[in-house]
């Protein structure tokens, strides 16, 4: 049986399967279906400073092997989160990965400060938000804005809380953004956020979503996500990655780990199968055993090695045979 434990920077996890931000609320609803302490961690819906109503309906459109959503970060705000949700996660033994979002660097910093003395295992910084101070330019699409937010959050947060930057795939060179946030002090990188998409209703002849555009998720984006994890692992090989994007099975999770992720988040799959995170842990363990990996760590980034290196590491041929 493969050793399922893994690490995201200084955070040790019993297994590498977490929920994805925006797909598990703050954990409570999923506890009806499984023990939230049994998964790697619960990644909360992005928390902002103030309560947010979210966008008008319709907020969702089903697409081939995916869905488009335009929720608009509906949430109770940080005060309510700290009073109601974080204590609940703690009481239930869940590792709490808190996703934060803001419209300005100051807002991210204020949130990091509010979390300073709280029992937070990791902060995931959702930088796929429009920067109100830069004509709505999305932080994650601009290396300078992204690095400013990450370095400010790194300075403001508790020094022992790992900070992960969550990247958008909607960029020309994701490796460049990854290097920028790494230089700014990110302890790791989460990827990918949804891809911006759109559906037009051919009956009403209008955009199907109230918010016009929305975020595409689900297995439809999985190859894009695996590619991004691959490229970012190459760009910043020293940083741990939390990979996500359309993971439905243990085999899917294995692809992300082989591409360089130390752990994965399961998102849209939960809408289809509320017990997906637990099932995927079981399936991933069987996959690692099938491939002969003794641990998750042994599989991280393994696809980057040449077939000869892989064979040597797996012990199927003698190392000297390669070197000869």
């Amino acid at each position: 049986m493969a050793d399922m434990s893994t690490r995201l920077a200084s955070l040790a996890l019993p297994n590498p399967v977490l929920t994805a931000s925006g797909c598990a609320a703050a954990g409570r609803e999923l506890a009806q279906f499984f023990d939230v302490s049994a998964i790697g961690g619960v990644v909360t819906k992005s928390i902002m400073q103030r309560p947010r109503s979210g966008r008008p309906t319709p907020r969702m459109a089903e697409t081939p092997s995916g869905m488009l959503n335009s929720i608009g970060l509906q949430g109770p705000g940080i005060d309510s989160f700290l009073a109601n949700d974080l204590p609940w996660l703690r009481e239930h033994g869940a590792r709490a990965v808190v996703s934060i979002a803001g419209g300005s660097t100051d807002e991210y910093v204020a949130l990091a400060k509010r979390l300073y003395r709280e029992p937070v295992d990791l902060i995931e910084v959702n930088i796929s938000c429009p920067n109100v101070e830069s004509r709505g330019q999305v932080f994650a699409c601009d290396p300078l804005a992204a690095s400013q937010v990450i370095s400010a959050v790194r300075r403001a947060a508790h020094p022992s809380t790992p900070i992960f930057a969550k990247l958008s795939p909607d960029v020309t060179d994701i490796g460049q953004i990854a290097r920028a946030v790494a230089d700014a002090g990110a302890d790791g990188i989460s990827l990918i956020n949804t891809l911006l998409g759109m559906v037009i209703d051919t009956e009403t002849l209008q955009p199907a979503l109230g918010g016009v555009t929305g975020g595409l998720s689900g297995p439809a984006i999985r190859p894009v996500a695996v590619r991004c994890v691959w490229q970012v692992h190459r760009a910043v090989p020293h940083l741990p990655l939390l990979g996500m994007g359309g993971i439905m099975t243990g085999k899917d999770a294995l692809q992300f780990i082989l591409a360089g992720a130390s752990a994965v988040s399961v998102g849209t799959a939960v809408f289809h199968d509320p017990t997906a995170p637990i099932r995927i842990i079981r399936e991933l363990e069987a996959e690692l055993d099938r491939c002969g990996f003794a641990s998750v760590a042994d599989a991280v980034g393994f696809a980057h090695r040449t077939p000869a290196e892989q064979a040597a590491l797996r012990g199927t041929i003698d190392v000297e045979e390669i070197n000869a």
């Binding site: 797909c23 023990d35 008008p56 959503n69 289809h272």
Partner: protein
């Protein structure tokens, strides 16, 4: 309105995947498929869902089989639930085929295994004392009203039922309702069955003749709004079950929200899957559905996004 305020307490454990009281996820086999007009009625062996059921709750069904490209579950109001004694418990729900997912579902024969999550949502509140009530169903919105009628009759409430649809083939449950209550008022938009017109046409006189103190309804949004207005005009409450499209059905995706006024007078976007599907019609801001009212809690936090 808190989840479970109406209560669906499950006592004891169950073999399915629930770790607390509440809904379960289980694989159920289709036991019977029956066509009614333009609808398909399924009876599915699902003891876990059947055990905790209360009228007004729904089941979320995965569609398309293994490796489906349709990720989102389809939600259906439950009725005809038999909790099971010597035999395993069964549930019934009715499907109108109007998209790829429901078209797949109505093609499934007896014996097909369905992945189910339920029972979900807040049930219809049932008064402690018998109360005269009118039940109004639009289309297959009559489905959850049948077990509700049964429950109300069992506690001695005097009830009437009005069922309406656009055409006769879009009516559902009129025979079952007649058998249960003794009579049922039927309306169709085109007059192909019952009286021509809308359910709200016979509703005022039904309320007045019965001295109804409560209206229950399920059906399309415009109908629920109109029923709510009639009830309000008679100064009685209407408890209505909405049919809002949902992605998850379990409260995590935030897609099925409606603007609803809370006990504190503040309006919020609330999830129709866990805070509904049953709402007090007087609390739903029908005119604002599909918009973002400026006075909604958190609307002022939306700037820049």
């Amino acid at each position: 309105m808190a989840f479970g305020a109406g209560g669906s307490p499950v006592t004891g454990g169950n073999q399915a995947t629930s770790t607390e009281s509440g809904p379960v996820q289980e694989v159920g086999e289709i036991f019977d498929v029956t066509r009614y007009g333009s609808y398909t009625q399924f009876t599915v062996v699902a003891p876990g869902v059947a055990r905790a059921f209360q009228p007004g709750q729904f089941v979320a069904v995965a569609v398309g089989g293994p490796d489906t490209s349709m990720l989102l579950r389809r939600s259906f109001a439950l009725y005809g639930v038999k909790p099971g004694t010597d035999f395993a418990g069964t549930i019934q729900f009715v499907v109108a085929a109007h998209g790829r997912g429901t078209e797949w579902l109505v093609r499934q024969p007896v014996g097909t295994k369905l992945d189910l999550v339920g029972p979900l949502g807040v049930p219809f509140p049932i008064p402690r004392e018998p109360v005269p009530a009118v039940l109004v169903g639009g289309g297959y919105g009559s489905a959850p009203l049948l077990p509700l009628a049964e429950r109300l009759l069992a506690q001695g409430s005097d009830i009437r039922m009005i069922l309406g649809a656009a055409t006769a083939d879009r009516l559902f449950g009129q025979l079952a309702a007649k058998r249960l209550i003794g009579s049922v008022t039927v309306t169709t938009d085109d007059g192909t069955a019952g009286q021509r017109g809308r359910v709200t046409d016979p509703l005022p006189s039904a309320i007045e003749q019965l001295g109804a103190q409560l209206v229950y309804a399920c059906g399309p949004m415009p109908m629920l709004r109109a029923v709510g207005e009639v009830a309000q005009a008679h100064a009685i409450p209407a408890q209505v079950a909405v049919e809002e499209s949902m992605a998850c059905g379990i409260g995590v995706c935030m897609t099925c929200v409606l603007p609803v006024r809370g006990n504190d007078g503040v309006s919020r976007f609330v999830r129709s899957c866990v805070e509904g599907p049953v709402f007090d019609a007087g609390r739903v801001r029908w005119a604002d559905v599909g918009t973002l009212p400026a006075d909604l809690h958190g609307a002022d936090g939306m700037g820049g996004h």
